[in-house]
C-alpha cells in the first residue's frame, strides 16, 4: 500500500494502557477543535440543532437529505458572487463587448405602422449603396419560431404583415453603422395600412383582420390568443358571505429596465458552423429556434452566452434580431453585430402585461376565505411569447398560501398592435397577487380584524395541497408574517398613525422552478444536467448550461460543489457559456436555476466524492462509510488523525484513467392534478414571503415616499445569504417601480411615448426605502441543501404592501397602478368632494376598532401554529389538503365528500352570462366548432 498519511492504524484501541497511562509516542491525536480532552469525534445528531446554538430542540424544519454531505465549507456563508470581480473591474464581456475580426454592423428596419400589410419590398436601392454587404427581408426567413412550442407565431422579419410600431421589417449589414443607417432609408416599401387594435377590451371583439390566425383553433374572429377557465371547490360557500371585497384594477405594462440593451454577434466559422454570441437567459431555446429558422441542425450551431447585463425575464425569448444577425452573417460571409438602441429594447419589450383584473372574494362567519373569484384580461401585444403560461399564472398562482373554500378564475390574453408582453420577474403572479392581497386587507377592514391575523388564521400548512392540486412542501409563510409583524412594530402602528403616514402588509407565493419543462422532447429529458471534471491539479471544472444573468447561479453551483467536496470556492471553476461544452440546461426562468441546477450539481459532486472515498478506502483500508471528506482531507471518522490528503486520494482515483468525470441531472417528480392546465403553476417547491411597507403620502400633491420595508422571504435555505438579501432588496426596488412610477405609456395614437430611461421612470436611489431583508429558512425536502427560489417571489409582496399602506395613510383605496402622484391626487380630490372638507390636510386618517372576530382569529392562528410546527418537522405526517379548514376529510377525495365540489376547466352554459371581462372570451366559439357560421 502506498504511504498515505497514516498514524496508528486500527484506531485508538492500542494506544491506551489498561492502567490509563499514555503510551509514549502513541498518543491519540485529538480531533481538530476538541481541545485535546476528547479523544474521539463527538457524534452529531442531525435531527437536533447543534449544541453550540442551544441543542436539544429539534431542527425547526426537520433534517434534510443533504445534511449528511454538509461539510460547512460554503453553504450558508455570505460570499460575493464568483463573477463579481470580472464585473467590477470591467472585464466581464457583455453582448456588445464581443469583437470579431472583420465584423460588420447590422441594423434593423422597423415598422413605422401599427398594423399594415407589406405589399412589396424593393431592396435594389439598398443593395446598390456602396458598403452594404447583405440585405435580408421576411422572404429570407419563412420559418416560424416562438419560445413556447404551442405558440410559434414569430418570424425573424415580418412575413406578410407588421404587427406593431417597431416590428422588424428587414435588415442590412454594412461596413459601418453610418452606412447601415443610411441604407435603412433606401428601402422602397408599399404598405396597406390596417385598422389597429390597442385596447385589450377591443381584443375580445370580432374584427376583419385578426392580428394572428390560428386556423381551426382561432376563437371566432377575435384577437384572443388564449382563454382560461378554472373552477375548484364548493361554490355554494360563497353564496351568503359574511364579508366580501370587490375590486377592479387596471395595471399598466412595465418593462424589465435591464442595464444592457440586447446585442448579438453572429459568425459562420470556417467549417460552416454558426457561432452566435448573445446575452440570453435561455440560450437553449435560442439554439432550438436558430436551428428551425436557419434550417441547420442544432449540432452545427454553437450558442455562446455572453455575460448578461440583467434579464429579469426580458431576455428569455429567442429573439428575431438573433435570427437576423445569423441570416446577415450567412449572406455576407462576415461576422455581423447588432446592438439595440434603448428604443428598440422597448419595442421588443416582453415586459409585464398591461392588465385589467377584477377580484371578488368572500369570507364566511368564521372569517374563513370561502371564495376567490378572479378575472384577468391581459394585453399581450403583437406576439404570444410566454403568454400562454401567463394566462394561467394570473389565476393559479393565487391559490396559495391561503386555504380556500372555492376558487374561480377566468383569464384571457389578447393580441393588440403594441410591443409584445412576455415574462417578467414574478411572471404572471404579480398583478393578481396585488389585487388579492389588497382585497384581503379590505375584507379585514369590513370584519374589523387585523389583516395579519386574518392571514395567519387562514394559511395552508406545510406538506399540504392547494385547491388546484399543487404540492406544498416546506412553508415558511407563518414565520415570515410573524417576523415582519414584530420587526415593523406593526401592532403599535397599524391604523394608529396620523394622516399621511401609513403601514401595510402584503404576502407572496411563487414557484421554485416549473414542474413541467417547456420542451419535453426528447422524452424524460432532465431539466438540468451538470458535468464535472477533476484533473490532477485538484481543481474542479463544472460544465453547466445554466445562464447566470446576475442572479448568481454560477456562484450557487460553485458553492454546492465546494460544499460537497469540501474544497475552497476558488478551486471550483464553472464553465457555462458555450452550448458546445455545456450540457443542456433549460435556462433562467421560472426561478428554476438554483433549485434544479444545484440539485444536478450536487449529484455530480456526490459521484466525484464517491470516487475519492473509494480511492481513500484503498489507501487507508477503511470503508467509505467510515470516512469523512473535509478540509481537503479524507480521514477516519473515529480518528481524524488517520487520513489522506485530498490530492493523494485524487491521484489514487486517477490511476490509469486520468481526470475524474461525473454527471448529475435533475428532473422534477411527477405530481399535480390531471385537469386541463394542471401543469401550469406546478413546481417542485414554492417560496413564500411577507412584507410590511411604511409610506409617507403628501396629501396635497399625492406624492408617495416609501420609507421602510420589512421583507421576510422563505427561500428554504439561504445558500448564500448575501445573494438572497441582494435579491430581496433588488426585488423591492423593481416592485416599487411598478407600484409607484413605472409604466409603458401608450398615448392617444397608440404609440409608446416613453421608450427611454428618462421618461420610463425607474426609481432612483432617492426613492429607495430602507429595506430590512429577513431570511426565513424552512428547509425544503427537495431543494439543494433545502434551498428554494429567492429571485422572483420577493417581488410580489411589495406592491400590495405599499397599496395597503397608502390606504392606511389616507383612507383611500387606489386600484390603478402605478400610483403616480396624479392618480393619488385624483383619489384625494374624489374623497374631498365626498367629505365636508376643502383642504386635504383635514381628511380623517383611517382607524380601526377590533370586533369580537379578532379574538377568534388569534386563537385559531395559535392552534394552527402548533399544527404547522408539527407538520414542518414531519412529526405529523398525516395528509392535509385544502378543505380541511372547512371540515373536510383529507383522506377522501373532496369530490366524493361534497356534492358540487368542482374541478372544472370550462364554464357550464348557465355560467356564461355572469362571467367577467376576460370570461367573455368564453362566449365565442372556436372556428372548428363554427362550421358555416361565418
Amino acid at each position: 500500500m502506498s504511504g498515505g498519511y497514516r498514524q496508528q492504524p486500527g484506531g485508538s484501541g492500542h494506544t491506551t494502557r489498561k492502567d490509563g497511562k499514555r503510551v509514549a509516542g502513541k498518543q491519540a491525536f485529538p480531533p481538530p477543535g476538541s481541545g485535546g480532552s476528547k479523544p474521539k469525534m463527538a457524534t452529531r445528531d442531525l435531527d437536533f440543532i447543534p449544541e453550540s446554538v442551544g441543542g436539544k430542540e429539534p431542527q425547526p424544519a426537520g433534517s434534510h437529505i443533504h445534511d449528511r454531505v454538509r461539510t460547512g465549507t460554503s453553504v450558508g456563508k455570505e460570499m460575493p458572487l464568483v463573477d463579481s470581480n470580472a464585473k467590477v473591474t470591467g472585464q466581464a464581456w457583455y453582448g456588445d463587448d464581443v469583437r470579431l475580426p472583420n465584423e460588420v454592423i447590422g441594423k434593423i428596419l422597423r415598422s413605422p405602422h401599427h398594423y399594415a400589410k407589406i405589399k412589396s419590398i424593393d431592396t435594389s436601392r439598398v443593395e446598390a449603396l456602396p458598403g452594404v454587404l447583405a440585405v435580408a427581408t421576411g422572404a429570407d426567413s419563412p420559418h416560424r419560431f416562438g419560445v413556447l412550442p404551442v405558440t410559434k407565431d414569430e418570424h425573424a422579419m415580418a412575413v406578410e404583415k407588421v404587427r406593431h410600431v417597431g416590428d422588424l421589417v428587414a435588415c442590412v449589414a454594412a461596413i459601418d453603422e453610418a452606412t447601415a443607417l443610411e441604407a435603412l432609408n433606401l428601402f422602397d416599401i408599399e404598405w396597406e395600412v390596417l385598422e389597429p387594435v390597442f385596447d385589450p377590451k377591443k381584443g375580445l371583439e370580432d374584427v376583419d383582420e385578426p392580428i394572428h390566425w390560428r386556423g381551426k383553433y382561432h376563437l371566432a374572429k377575435t384577437n384572443v390568443q388564449k382563454r382560461v377557465f378554472q373552477e375548484f371547490g364548493d361554490r355554494s360557500l360563497v353564496e351568503k358571505p359574511h364579508a366580501e371585497s370587490h375590486g377592479k384594477w387596471s395595471m399598466a405594462g412595465v418593462h424589465h429596465g435591464f442595464t444592457e440593451p440586447h446585442a448579438v454577434v453572429a459568425h459562420w466559422g470556417p467549417n460552416g458552423r454558426l457561432q452566435l454570441y448573445t446575452p440570453q437567459q435561455v440560450p437553449h431555446y435560442t439554439h432550438r429556434a436558430l436551428s428551425t429558422v436557419l434550417d441547420v441542425p442544432m449540432h452545427q450551431i454553437n450558442v455562446i452566452r455572453t455575460f448578461v447585463g440583467g434579464g429579469f425575464g426580458g431576455k428569455s425569448d429567442p429573439f428575431p434580431h438573433e435570427m437576423c444577425a445569423a441570416i446577415l452573417a450567412r449572406k455576407s460571409g462576415r461576422p455581423v453585430r447588432i446592438t439595440f438602441d434603448r428604443e428598440e429594447v422597448y419595442w421588443i419589450n416582453r415586459g409585464r402585461h398591461p392588465s385589467h383584473i377584477e377580484v371578488k372574494m368572500t369570507a364566511d362567519e368564521d372569517a374563513r376565505i370561502s371564495g376567490f373569484d378572479i378575472d384577468a384580461l391581459i394585453d399581450g401585444g403583437g406576439f404570444a411569447s410566454f403568454g400562454h403560461v401567463t394566462s394561467y399564472y394570473n389565476g393559479v398562482l393565487a391559490t396559495a398560501p391561503y386555504e380556500l373554500g372555492s376558487f374561480h378564475y377566468t383569464g384571457a390574453r389578447v393580441w393588440t398592435n403594441k410591443p409584445a408582453s412576455g415574462a417578467m420577474r414574478g411572471h404572471g403572479a404579480v398583478n393578481t397577487r396585488c389585487a388579492v392581497e389588497v382585497g384581503l386587507d379590505e375584507m379585514a377592514e369590513t370584519m374589523q380584524v387585523d389583516p395579519i391575523d386574518l392571514r395567519l388564521a387562514n394559511l395552508l400548512p406545510p406538506h399540504s395541497r392547494t385547491i388546484s392540486g399543487f404540492r406544498i412542501t416546506s412553508n415558511g409563510m407563518r414565520e415570515a408574517l410573524e417576523k415582519v409583524r414584530t420587526g415593523s412594530n406593526w401592532d403599535e402602528k397599524f391604523r394608529k398613525m396620523p394622516l399621511g403616514k401609513g403601514i401595510g402588509i402584503g404576502c407572496g407565493f411563487f414557484i421554485s422552478g416549473s414542474g413541467l419543462p417547456i420542451h419535453w422532447d426528447p422524452n424524460r429529458f432532465p431539466h438540468a444536467t451538470v458535468h464535472m471534471q477533476v484533473d490532477m491539479d485538484g481543481g474542479v471544472t463544472v460544465h453547466t448550461g445554466a445562464a447566470d444573468i446576475g442572479q448568481g447561479s454560477t456562484t450557487a453551483v460553485a458553492q454546492v460543489v465546494s460544499e460537497v467536496l469540501a474544497l475552497p470556492i476558488e478551486m471550483i471553476h464553472v464553465r457555462s457559456h458555450e452550448s458546445d461544452t455545456s450540457p443542456v440546461d433549460l435556462g433562467s426562468y421560472s426561478s428554476r436555476v438554483t433549485f434544479m441546477n444545484a440539485n444536478a450539481a450536487i449529484r455530480a459532486a456526490l459521484e466525484i466524492r464517491e470516487q475519492l472515498l473509494n480511492a481513500a478506502w484503498e489507501i487507508l483500508g477503511y470503508h467509505p462509510n467510515n470516512l469523512i471528506l473535509n478540509d481537503r482531507r479524507i480521514y477516519y471518522k473515529h480518528d481524524p488523525a488517520i487520513g489522506v490528503s485530498y490530492l493523494k486520494a485524487l491521484h489514487k482515483a486517477q490511476e490509469d484513467k486520468g481526470a475524474l468525470i461525473a454527471s448529475g441531472a435533475y428532473r422534477s417528480p411527477p405530481m399535480g392534478g390531471v385537469h386541463k392546465g394542471a401543469a401550469a403553476g406546478l413546481a417542485p417547491a414554492y417560496s413564500f414571503s411577507a412584507y410590511v411597507a411604511e409610506v409617507d403620502v403628501d396629501v396635497e400633491t399625492g406624492i408617495i415616499q416609501c420609507t421602510n420595508v420589512w421583507a421576510a422571504h422563505d427561500c428554504g435555505k439561504a445558500l448564500n445569504p448575501l445573494a438572497v438579501k441582494g435579491q430581496i432588496i433588488g426585488s423591492c426596488h423593481m416592485g416599487l417601480g411598478q407600484v409607484l412610477s413605472e409604466k409603458m405609456v401608450y398615448g392617444r395614437t397608440g404609440h409608446l411615448q416613453n421608450a427611454n430611461l428618462l421618461d420610463y421612470k425607474i426609481p432612483s436611489v432617492h426613492e429607495m426605502p430602507h429595506v430590512e431583508p429577513i431570511i426565513i429558512e424552512s428547509c425544503d425536502p427537495e431543494g439543494p441543501f433545502g434551498a428554494k427560489e429567492a429571485g422572483e417571489g420577493p417581488l410580489l409582496p411589495i406592491l400590495p404592501a405599499v397599496v395597503n399602506a397608502v390606504y392606511d395613510a389616507i383612507g383611500i383605496r387606489l386600484r390603478n397602478l402605478p400610483l403616480t402622484p396624479d392618480v393619488v391626487y385624483k383619489g384625494i380630490e374624489k374623497a374631498l368632494k365626498a367629505s365636508e372638507f376643502d383642504d386635504p390636510t383635514d381628511l380623517p386618517s383611517p382607524t380601526l376598532t377590533f370586533s369580537s372576530m379578532q379574538q377568534k382569529l388569534v386563537a385559531r392562528a395559535q392552534e394552527h401554529k402548533i399544527r404547522d410546527k408539527a407538520r414542518q418537522r414531519t412529526e405529523d405526517t398525516s395528509p392535509y389538503v385544502n378543505g380541511v379548514l372547512f371540515g373536510f376529510d383529507p383522506t377522501i377525495p373532496l369530490e366524493d365528500q361534497v356534492e358540487g365540489w368542482r374541478i372544472a376547466t370550462e364554464p357550464d352554459p348557465e355560467q356564461l352570462a355572469e362571467l367577467g371581462l376576460a370570461g367573455r372570451a368564453w362566449l365565442k366559439k372556436e372556428q372548428r366548432q363554427m362550421d358555416g357560421e361565418n
Binding site: S741, Q753, N754, L758, D759, K761, S764, P821, D822
Partner: protein, 327 residues
C-alpha cells in the same frame, strides 16, 4: 445611437467665437453653440435638428465666473452649488437640476437656453417617422404639431429649465453677445413665446453671462419643483418666489415647466396685493391666481390637469417657506 457628424470649433476668446459665428452665418452654414453638452448632445444622438457645425464655448477663458453679482455662461452647475457666496435661491434651484453627474457637466448658460421638450419631439428618428414626423424636429416635412392637432403655427413644447424662474424673481439681467455686439436685457424679456424660437437670441448670438444687481442680491426666496423622482427628472412644474425680506410689496413669482417659456406673474401678484395682504388667505388667493394663469399641455410625463393643480400647492409652499425663513 450614432452621433451625426459635425465640425467642432473651439474658439478661445469671446471675440474669436463671435467672428467665427459671423463667418459661418455669412457662408450660410447652420451651427449650434455647445457649453456642457448635456442638453444638445442627447438631442443630436436622436437626430433632433443636428447642424453641420458646433461651436464650443468650453475653451473660452473667463466665461465661467462665479460670484454673487455675476455668473458666466460656462459656470458648471456642480460648481455653482458648491461655491460660497452665490445667491442661495440660485443655488437651491441649481441643486435640483437633474443628477449630480449631469450637474458636473451642465452649465448655467445651457440651462437658461435649454431646448424646449415634448414627448412627441424628444424621440429617436425611427420613432418620429412612425408619427409621420414632428413639427419642431423635422421642419421641412410639413409635419403638424402632434400635441394639439390641426394647428400648425405654434410649437407648444415645454420649457423645463429650473434656474430661469429664480433668475426672473431676482431681476437678473442676461448679457447676449454676437457678431453685432453686446446687449443686456432683463431675463424676463429673454424668452419668446414659441417652442421653436424659444428666446430672443439672434442668429450668431450666445448668452455670455448673468448679472444680479445689488438690490436683487438682497432678496430671498424659495423654489419649489414638482417631479416624479428626486433625481434626473425635469420639472413637471416649478414655482419660484422672492421678496425683500419683510416687504410683501416686493413679492415676485415666476413659474416654469408649464408652458413654452418660463414667466413672471406680476398681474396675479398685484391683484392680491391690491386687496391688501392678509397672510394665509392672501397666499391662497395668490396660489389660485397663478394656477389659473398657466396653461400646460399634454406633452410631459404627468397630465396637464394635475400639473396645473399643483401650481397652487407649489406657489403656496414657495411663499410660505420664504416667509417662514425670516420668522
Amino acid at each position: 445611437m450614432l452621433m451625426p457628424p459635425f465640425t467642432l470649433h473651439n474658439p478661445t476668446t469671446v471675440e474669436e467665437a463671435c467672428t467665427l459665428a459671423g463667418e459661418l452665418l455669412e457662408k450660410g452654414e447652420a451651427f449650434d453653440w455647445v457649453a456642457g453638452g448635456t442638453d444638445l448632445l442627447p438631442n443630436y444622438k436622436w437626430h433632433i435638428n443636428p447642424k453641420p457645425h458646433v461651436i464650443s464655448l468650453a475653451r473660452i477663458e473667463g466665461v465661467d465666473t462665479l460670484s454673487l453679482h455675476e455668473i458666466g455662461c460656462m459656470a458648471r452647475l456642480g460648481d455653482l452649488t458648491a461655491e460660497n457666496g452665490i445667491h442661495p435661491l440660485i443655488v437651491e434651484a441649481a441643486g435640483k437640476v437633474a443628477s449630480s453627474l449631469i450637474r458636473h457637466n451642465a452649465t448655467l448658460g445651457g440651462n437658461i437656453c435649454l431646448d424646449t421638450r415634448c414627448f412627441w419631439y424628444n424621440q429617436g428618428e425611427d420613432w418620429r417617422r412612425s408619427i409621420d414626423w414632428c413639427h419642431k424636429a423635422d421642419c421641412g416635412t410639413g409635419a403638424e404639431c402632434r400635441v394639439i392637432p390641426n394647428q400648425n403655427t405654434l410649437c407648444v413644447a415645454t420649457y423645463q429649465g429650473d434656474i430661469a424662474p429664480t433668475l426672473m424673481v431676482l431681476d437678473a439681467e442676461v448679457h447676449l453677445i454676437g457678431p453685432n455686439g453686446l446687449r443686456v436685457i432683463p431675463i424676463t424679456e429673454f424668452y419668446q413665446l414659441d417652442g421653436m424660437k424659444k428666446n430672443v437670441l439672434e442668429d450668431g448670438e450666445f448668452l455670455l453671462k448673468v448679472t444680479l444687481s445689488k438690490e436683487a442680491a438682497g432678496r430671498s426666496g424659495s423654489y419649489q419643483k414638482l417631479r416624479v423622482r428626486d433625481s434626473w427628472d425635469f420639472p413637471e412644474a416649478g414655482v419660484a418666489a422672492s421678496w425683500i425680506p419683510g416687504d410683501v410689496s416686493s413679492l415676485q413669482i415666476a413659474t416654469t415647466a408649464l408652458e413654452s417659456i418660463p414667466r413672471c406673474h406680476p398681474e396675479e401678484v398685484s391683484a392680491v396685493l391690491d386687496e391688501g395682504w392678509d397672510g394665509i388667505s392672501s397666499i391662497k388667493a395668490l396660489a389660485a391666481g397663478v394656477r389659473k394663469s398657466v396653461q400646460p399641455v399634454n406633452n410631459t410625463s404627468l397630465p396637464p390637469r394635475y400639473r396645473k393643480s399643483m401650481v397652487r400647492v407649489l406657489t403656496k409652499r414657495a411663499v410660505e417657506k420664504m416667509i417662514e425663513e425670516i420668522q
